[in-house]
Symmetry: C2
Subunit: 481 residues, 2 copies
């Protein structure tokens, strides 16, 4: 008698066929459905709520709930006019890759636990080094996302600056200091908090008009900290800041890091794969001098969520940070490459087979098509900036960095406060369902913020976005009487 959990081939086929139909319908209606449902937490909860299921439900009933509740009551990051935050559309190849990874259920802790998965991950890491121009001798691993990549890079940098921190804690010497621009992603500050370095020790260096780090000021801050007896440890450069897409000047920053013997971490979680686009590639000059680089294949390689990446130039500081030996994990009868463990390079022990969807996607689409899609995203953002610049009723608030644009509605002769007006327009746009932007502040002003990160997005979508915003504005004025 097989266990009821050991799904029969018939039930598996039924589940799979119904799931495929749901996905096919989803893909077919994606460009036409609302980007975001109009709903509330309570409404969604009421539809899903039930006590812990004691007995099995029928496959068709369970999948009907996915089709009728879960999918429609989700925000659709794959919609061609979803421009919010930095969210990938996902790909069909990655979805099939995740299915194959999950059915195999390899646990990619180490080579011995997943030989093919470990070797595939090594190979894919090599490809990502090549795409970005990272130091060829470097190593790396896939992690759950950019926050974990940034955290792990700071942890390794801490070990380099204070080899005793792991054993004794960070409390036995003057404060370690991290330098980043005011545009740094919050995961860097969060990493400093978690690592016991403290957010007070993240020095936020001002930026120029294009939101790039002021390198002269960077060097002054390092020198004054050192003079004050503090311990400079690491510089974090943005390879595409999340707010504006700004790209810090890597060659100058690398020179400062080398002069002061500081770890150089580059945060390319959003912008790292813009290296695929010829227009952005020159920005990566100097990336081979970085000690670590965060990347998010689940952002601008369009892959499914849960696939970040961290590259290290040298493995040793990471190993000194993360490696741990225990009786129950000690390899027996293995050496060299077969004794390799990913837990020596990052915080996780159990790890899903993240390389499989990524590999499948790179194989099925090819780097040339991915590069073309990235270049088109950048072109769409630039095209939109031109539309805004030419429009009498909109104004650009920041230069377009990579594929991120910041702007606002500013009709001529409007006497009111533009901040609440744009906030209302944003909400009306999001509720309308045709286009989706998120928000930020630029020089203190409320900004409509968009990021083109979808291979489905075209110039027609950029024109439509502007029309949708004008519709939203008309609605707001009408409602205000």
């Amino acid at each position: 008698m097989p266990s009821p959990i050991d799904t029969s081939p018939e039930v598996f086929r039924q589940l799979a066929e119904e799931a495929l139909r749901i996905i096919e319908d989803f893909y077919a209606q994606l460009p036409h459905a609302p980007v975001m449902p109009v709903t509330s937490a309570q409404a969604v909860r009421d539809l899903l709520a039930e006590p812990l299921p004691e007995q099995p439900a029928a496959a068709s009933e369970v999948l009907a709930a996915v089709r009728d509740i879960v999918y429609p009551l989700s925000r659709h990051n794959g919609h061609p006019r979803f421009f919010g935050y930095v969210a990938s559309p996902g790909t069909a190849a990655a979805a099939i890759g995740d299915l194959l990874a999950s059915a195999l259920n390899a646990n990619v802790t180490s080579w011995r636990s997943a030989p093919a998965a470990a070797e595939m991950e090594h190979m894919v890491i090599g490809w990502l080094k090549q795409i970005t121009g990272f130091a060829p001798e470097g190593t790396g691993l896939l992690v759950s996302g950019g926050s974990m990549a940034n955290f792990s890079a700071l942890a390794a940098a801490r070990t380099k600056a204070d080899p005793h921190a792991g054993r004794r804690g960070t409390g036995h010497a003057p404060d370690l200091r991290i330098y980043a621009s005011t545009e740094v992603h919050f995961s860097i500050v969060k990493g400093a908090r978690l690592l016991g370095i403290g957010s007070d020790n993240v020095v936020l260096v001002p930026t120029d008009a294009a939101f790039r780090m002021d390198v002269a000021e960077l060097e002054r801050r390092i020198e004054s900290d050192r003079a004050a007896g503090l311990r400079p440890m690491c510089i974090v450069a943005n390879a595409g800041a999340v707010n504006t897409g700004a790209f810090d000047p890597l060659p100058e920053i690398a020179a400062i890091a080398e002069r002061h013997r500081l770890w150089l971490h580059v945060d390319g979680a959003y912008g790292g794969f813009s290296a695929l686009a010829p227009s952005a590639k020159p920005l990566f000059t100097g990336i081979d001098r970085a000690d670590s680089l965060s990347l998010d294949p689940h952002k601008w390689l369009y892959s499914s969520v849960g696939c970040g990446c961290l590259l290290y130039r040298e493995a040793q500081p990471a190993i000194a940070t993360f490696s741990h030996d225990a009786d129950y994990t000690r390899p027996v009868g293995l050496s060299n490459d077969e004794a390799f463990a990913f837990w020596d390079l990052g915080p996780e022990l159990s790890r899903p087979f993240r390389a499989l969807p990524l590999w499948l996607q790179l194989k099925l689409y090819g780097a040339a098509n991915l590069a073309d899609a990235v270049a088109r995203n950048i072109a769409c953002a630039q095209y939109f900036a031109d539309l805004v610049t030419e429009a009498p009723d909109f104004e650009l608030l920041a230069p377009v960095g990579l594929s991120i644009f910041n702007f606002r509605y500013a009709p001529p002769h409007y006497a009111g406060d533009l901040d609440p007006l744009n906030e209302q327009i944003l909400l009306a746009l999001q509720r309308g369902g045709s286009s989706y932007l998120s928000n930020t502040r630029i020089h203190g002003k409320f900004a409509l913020r968009g990021c083109v990160l979808n291979y489905r997005t075209t110039e027609a979508d950029m024109r439509r976005l502007l029309e949708d915003l004008r519709d939203a504005a008309r609605y707001c004025f009408l409602r205000a009487g």
Copy 2:
């Protein structure tokens, strides 16, 4: 012209059909194929190696490589005689759930980014609280695995003990101290290293003969540390230690934590779901007094890798630890439940839709069947202990804790050293492919270690394991001449 990355319905169907055939064949041959391939890193690498693919490959060619290289050259955690480490077989339901999650590609950062996913996660967290008996008023989130859950729990505990650590770093007050038994999982020590607390500040309390923490000694250590001016911060109790399955006495430890106002974290990454089994449920008395509990649905709920869980009794210390506000994530026009963000409770920002496979699985199998499978796993381990105890040529090295057994081959009148003999037998067993054990040390002795964590495993498999070991021993003796 759609992008080449926007997979056509025809290609998606072809990919999906071929993937399903691979998976169906895999499930069908799983009990008969070798648990672990006999291969080398170089051999696998040679089969996979290729430069970054510039142009698309045919779907059939790519999936043939999955079928012929990736799947066969993997260790098969779903095989009924895979007993190594603590590895889940995965389920067909979770695989379909991962497909559906990946195709939708919701990024579960917050409610506004994934309404259905956020509400489903809240509901599933409620179910996991109910299963384990955790405080009903508690909160929690799904994380990538047990290491991240343990790390996050220690981070929240640190905030409770030193509210300024996040801002100023851990270096401005006497050392914080963590107490755990000598059987503690290495992720706790790693967490202390990463958090800047330091591994020197993890106090390893001795255990009794059943590898449970010596609570009298625990209290003595806390008192002597406090007298020495150190700052006791947290006690970590094992709800199923990974080495032996030992379960620390929760009521006594909870009383000590309360008396000394310390955070009580329970590591149930391996053993947490043994609460489903009536025989183990009494061990969970007192779990509602814990401040946090780590669980791994990707272990003993049989789910696919990448699904850990952390429960908190109070949300506030977690929020004070992880919450971060940035211009580009600030909610507009949302409040209360709709403003909820998972990044306030853990280290990640982007998060995959981990609740979907777990929910699908709980719905399709029902808690009663999962409970039955867990109880059978425990019974199999106990049955195996009886077989070993009765066998003249084997000896048990530790009491069976939950579903973990430690033993060794010890033929009568054998004059040699049993450690290298058992190491050789283990390697021969692993290479043989019929059964798979891992290794540890028990009281300094090399131990064959097994963990029953698979709903496919039966008593017949336990008998076969013993026979496979005898075959391996014969092979070793033969080879030694």
